[in-house]
């Protein structure tokens, strides 16, 4: 029998899995594009150049996957 508790537990599980997937995306963003950005920023800083945040910056915010859809 599908009780309210079972329905809520399943909804909670679906929510948790979806969030885990989105957090994985967030970690990927930090490691891969973020790693590239940090290397580029360090390189430019060492050369005395300016890193333009609005030109070469990331295209997705760290918390983009968490925003309401």
């Amino acid at each position: 029998m599908r009780t309210l508790h079972v329905v809520q537990a399943r909804a909670g599980l679906r929510r948790d899995l979806a969030l885990l997937w989105r957090i994985a995306g967030m970690v990927f963003q930090y490691v891969v594009p973020g790693g590239h950005l940090r290397r580029e920023y360090r390189r430019k800083t060492a050369r005395g150049e300016v890193y333009w945040v609005d030109a070469a910056g990331p295209t997705r915010h760290r918390e983009e996957p968490l925003r309401p859809r």
């Binding site: 309210l4 809520q8 909804a11 909670g12 929510r15 948790d16 969030l19 885990l20 957090i23 967030m26 970690v27 963003q29 930090y30 594009p33 973020g34 950005l37 940090r38 920023y41 430019k44 800083t45 005395g48 150049e49 300016v50 890193y51 333009w52 945040v53 609005d54 030109a55 910056g57 990331p58 997705r60 915010h61 760290r62 918390e63 968490l66 925003r67 309401p68």
Partner: protein, 356 residues
């Protein structure tokens, strides 16, 4: 003694085309009351004026900070949830507020207070529809914060946000278990509400010159979270701990702020005179140092154990000064009413009376 000197306010990053001033977005100089607009930190999806710098900030943060953000995100999945089908009746909001505060303290909160959510506490376009805010505060580890503006202090800031968010999530779950709606806010990024005005009205402390809250127990060395609910709760009142008495004369944060972002005088911001930090000067340095926090660390109130004595002494001094002024005023008033008015030869009033 600080372990090292802060870096200078020079930047290896910048905007090709400058965004709108954050001070203008924040409503600096506006004479009418109104809701705040989000400008920098946000997780609500609006295209913010300073988004590029915010994105850059989130990716240059060290892993030691980011891991706390990730864990906090995971625990905040329970910020909302299903309600218990049977609602607990509340006949005495004062008793319920006492019960909820005791629960929050058991869960780990150090500061707890209740305030009503008003229009001005919500960002433009946001309204969770809940009218009571339970504000929570948790102190940071002072030894770690002494490393500000190094990333080590930023990690402590995020660790504390994580800890206070955990309290908020558990408290919201407990309220929902009573059958009342409740939503936890523990994300340092601006979401629906402005935490500081709510926490000031909930009696957690007062707004300091450096734009952060000051409480008697922890000075500036604490972080906020909140639970919004419709549970009937008695409201707390704002406290007077003499923060203005200190901030008006103290220059510690002003002098120690490398980009000189802290303004000496209160400013008119969205129709209210209050302490204000120059956003356009503060944020680039905040980004460069991955969270700065120098002003919080150097604030005299943040010295452990100093707040209660300092507050009591200053209130005593103020009362004595006010009593002396009142007595001077009364004696001066007595003198004036007893003595005839002597006008100078060139007094325009004398001329007027003569001409009549």
């Amino acid at each position: 003694m600080k372990p090292f000197s802060p870096p200078p306010p020079t930047y290896a990053f910048g905007y090709r085309s400058s965004p709108e001033s954050g001070n203008a977005i924040n409503g600096l100089g506006e004479t009418t009351k109104g809701r705040a607009r989000q400008v920098f930190h946000s997780s609500t999806g609006e295209p913010l004026a300073w988004k590029a710098l915010d994105d850059f900030f989130s990716l240059i943060n060290p892993w030691g900070v980011v891991r706390h953000v990730i864990v906090n995100t995971w625990q905040l999945r329970r910020s909302e949830g299903p309600l218990h089908p049977r609602r607990r009746e509340v006949r005495d909001p004062t008793a319920m507020a006492t019960e909820v505060k005791a629960l929050a303290r058991r869960l780990g909160a150090s500061l707890v207070g209740v305030a009503e959510v008003t229009e001005e506490d919500l960002y433009v376009g946001r309204d969770p529809g809940l009218r009571r805010a339970i504000c929570l505060g948790l102190p940071m580890d002072r030894r770690e914060m002494a490393f500000a503006p190094q990333p080590r202090a930023a990690a402590e800031v995020m660790r504390t946000y994580r800890a206070v968010a955990k309290v908020a999530v558990r408290l919201a779950e407990a309220i929902r278990a009573m059958g009342w709606p409740a939503r936890a806010y523990g994300n340092p990024n601006s979401t629906d509400i402005l935490m500081i005005p709510l926490a000031v009205r909930a009696g957690l402390g007062e707004l300091g010159k450096h734009g952060s809250m000051i409480s008697t127990e922890h000075g500036s060395n604490f972080r906020l979270a909140a639970v919004l609910t419709d549970l009937p709760l008695a409201l707390d009142r704002p406290v007077d701990i003499a923060v203005d008495d200190v901030c008006t004369v103290c220059r510690r944060c002003v002098d120690d702020c490398p980009p000189r972002a802290i303004l000496e005088e209160k400013q008119l911001v969205r129709g209210e005179r209050k302490w204000y930090v120059d956003f356009d000067k503060c944020i680039p340095y905040f980004v460069k140092t991955c969270g700065c926090a120098i002003c919080i660390e150097v604030c005299p109130w943040s010295e452990p154990g100093r707040g209660p004595g300092l507050s009591a002494r200053l209130i005593e001094v103020r009362r004595a000064r006010e009593a002396a002024q009142a007595s001077n005023h009364a004696s001066a008033l007595g003198r004036i009413t007893r003595e005839p008015v002597r006008r100078r030869a060139n007094d325009p009033l004398r001329e007027t009376s003569r001409s009549r």
